[in-house]
Subunit: 363 residues, 2 copies
């Protein structure tokens, strides 16, 4: 039986590794640790502290440059364009969102396009940070190439997530945070490890043909840029794959298009800056009336859906953000679950950089 790790301890440990081992500044380390542990606490380990490996690779290859301060390169009363200067992604995002919220508080609305940043953690966190201020928050980002357009076979767009957060009554937040690909790559890896066949609609091979053998797919996946994830709706148009592809393209145009930044295909060039682009928006709820009334109305709509009749054999209709909120509450009370492989990563990093392990890390 492995012990969970206290939420705050895990943040402190992660921040210490980033500061001592990755030469992140204290603030860069803190916000990155908060983002990574937040993902684990919510039950999204694919974006959790296991990403320390990916962040290290980005550091080593010159994609991420700690210490670089983001710079505002264009500004109007209701907008910002930020050059992230290849800085630490969550740090660039935090600075941008803080300024975005200030400007939206003033004028009612603000949008920000960010170029030359890095991976910023879970998109939903940023949308929710905005929603906590009684605003509608949206956050998008492009990513390393992952997906193939409808009728194409080159991976040319990222997982390009959409996150939208809307405050509702009782301090809760409707929080949609979705990759526009059908699934994340972690699910393909899991099917490979378990020797399980994938459902159709997840991936295509280098010719653009649907495949379901995860092990065969994984063998060739990293060798070329051909073959990859399908977008929501799957292959072709029959079940709407062109719609999911359209959403991914919309995210790409908002992030890369409006920031004049790199498109997904141009991110992470050999030896070059990461080039990841983001887009955020904040819209004050009182643009549309009394916020309390609006939040009450939003809450009523959500309640009617939540309480509507369940499919046979099902007990619950989940509103977006509920699973993550409940997992987070459990993690705060009982500690954060960290799997064996990730514990080993953390212990290795502690050893390498002389960071004392925290309680529960050795299991």
């Amino acid at each position: 039986m492995t012990d969970n790790i206290s939420h705050d301890d895990l943040i402190d440990l992660t921040a210490a590794i980033l500061e001592k081992g990755y030469s992140y500044g204290p603030e860069e380390a803190r916000v990155t640790a908060v983002l990574l542990v937040e993902a684990d606490a919510r039950g999204i380990p694919s974006h959790g502290v296991s990403r320390l490996n990916f962040y290290r690779k980005n550091l080593r290859e010159g994609h991420t440059r700690p210490g670089n301060e983001p710079e505002t390169v264009w500004e109007t009363p209701v907008s910002l364009v930020v050059d992230g200067k290849a800085g630490v992604g969550p740090y660039v995002a935090e600075k941008t969102v803080k300024r975005l919220v200030e400007k939206a508080e003033d004028k009612g609305f603000c949008a920000a396009a960010v170029r030359n940043s890095n991976h910023y953690g879970i998109a939903g966190y940023w949308a929710e940070e905005i929603a906590k201020e009684d605003m509608l928050g949206m956050a998008f980002t492009n990513t390393y190439i992952a997906g193939v357009p409808t009728f194409g076979c080159l991976r040319i767009l990222g997982t390009n997530p959409i996150a939208a957060a809307i405050p509702e009554a009782g301090g809760r937040i409707f929080s949609l945070d979705m990759a526009t690909t059908t699934v994340t790559h972690g699910k393909v890896e899991l099917h490979d490890r378990r020797g399980k066949e994938m459902p159709k609609g997840w991936v295509v091979d280098e010719n653009g043909s649907e495949v379901t053998d995860a092990t065969a797919f994984e063998k060739t996946f990293y060798q070329t840029n051909f073959g990859g994830h399908l977008y929501l709706g799957g292959a072709g148009e029959e079940s709407g794959g062109h719609k999911g592809f359209g959403l991914a393209l919309l995210v790409e145009l908002l992030c890369s298009g409006l920031s004049l930044g790199a498109s997904s295909l141009a991110t992470y060039p050999a030896g070059g800056e990461g080039g990841i682009t983001h887009f955020f928006s904040a819209m004050r709820l009182d643009l549309f009336g009394d916020p309390e009334k609006l939040k009450g109305h939003v809450g009523k709509i959500l309640a009617s859906v939540r309480e509507s009749k369940k499919a046979r054999g099902r007990e619950r209709i989940w509103i977006h953000g509920e699973k993550e909120r409940e997992a987070r509450e459990k993690s705060l009370a009982e500690g954060v679950f960290v799997d064996e492989a990730t514990r080993k990563t953390l212990l290795d990093l502690c050893g390498e950089f002389g960071v004392p392990p925290v309680k529960g890390l050795r299991g």
Copy 2:
């Protein structure tokens, strides 16, 4: 061999029917005719002049009240809330979008939530009207109930489309216009008529179980509010159905939530006003830099996707809006295709209301 009908003739005819037969005012009739014929011209007959039947039903049942002027009930420098007063949908949308664009021209951004409106035609038209002004245009609407939440079985949300339009170089517009359901109901009807089995992922029965027999499904579909369309990604979570459901819910909260209007389930009450809600936004491109540079960059990203390698057996990757733009150009040059059933509808209406038929209508 049936003749196509000239684009302008078809608009004039449709407007004449609406004015003489439906007691629409001249402006209400004109904009409604433009919207309906636009859909036919783009190759989207489900939203074309065949909708005259649906619009008539809405009139007869008191859902649509021609002559009622929309009223702005809340306003800030960057927002509008409009009460449509159950007026003609495309007329309410046109008035709102016009004001929205004026306000965005002034302040850089504007959003509008509209309650108590009616069906406004294809959402993409409104997003593109905004994009023509060098702005990012978005348009959403809830609709008559159509879809079932993940793990539910009650139809409680509409087809809830998302439309986003972004100007690119050369006067073209990236235009995504997608129902958040996997398919529209027209596709189910077509499978019923042809006795063809549906793919999985389109609909569930009254217990929330997936069904593929279109004829059996259609028999019970209109008898209760149980069973209906799935959202993009299909049933359950394995292929992302919860994401499509999340997008539909987001649209519902933007439209109904922010306007304090009816949710999809509460639209079209017996004998009452239609209650349809919309949401629009307009964001000036120069919030992010020189519009020509931005449009050039957007164009380059789209070109890289368009020109990327095709899947085996495929010749083209379609960027969103291209199919519709090409169909429209053909319709303007060669006339609009109108199927037999719709011609009969038009001829019947001409006879009933004393409107002279146009060239090509009799085929």
